[in-house]
Symmetry: C2
Subunit: 77 residues, 2 copies
């Protein structure tokens, strides 16, 4: 089963990487960009009988830092 | 307009970060994980009149390294 975990910074948490990209886009002449936030997208290939609880446990134990990050699990197949 | 750019390593390109996560998941007792790949998800807030060409240009000029990475642009609103 293919699973995608989307990890993004919580609103309000500073994102220096996003800010750097924002500045670089402006430097390249792209106007009209007002915000940039960078997250991670982790593609997992897991056994078909993996439970939702196990996937959730993977996220909060390892894949995301729940103090500053939100995560969303998406089953693809 | 909200735009999400999904950047992932091309197939065949080594992913040491994904491999480290894979090993860590096994160490935590999660069996049945057969593959882990890590990508980036860049959330942009851009002017509504931003053209598809401009978005594509942002990707190949800055957001993705097209030698080793694929990207996909998704307009959310």
């Amino acid at each position: 089963m293919k699973v995608q975990v989307h990890v993004s910074l919580k609103p309000g948490v500073l994102d220096p990487q996003g800010r750097a990209i924002h500045h670089a886009l402006e430097g390249l002449g792209f106007d009209g960009v007002t915000d940039v936030r960078v997250g991670r997208e982790i593609a997992l290939e897991v056994a078909d009988d993996t439970s939702d609880e196990a996937l959730d446990e993977m996220c909060y134990k390892l894949l995301a830092n729940t103090v500053i990050e939100n995560y969303r699990v998406e089953k693809l197949s």
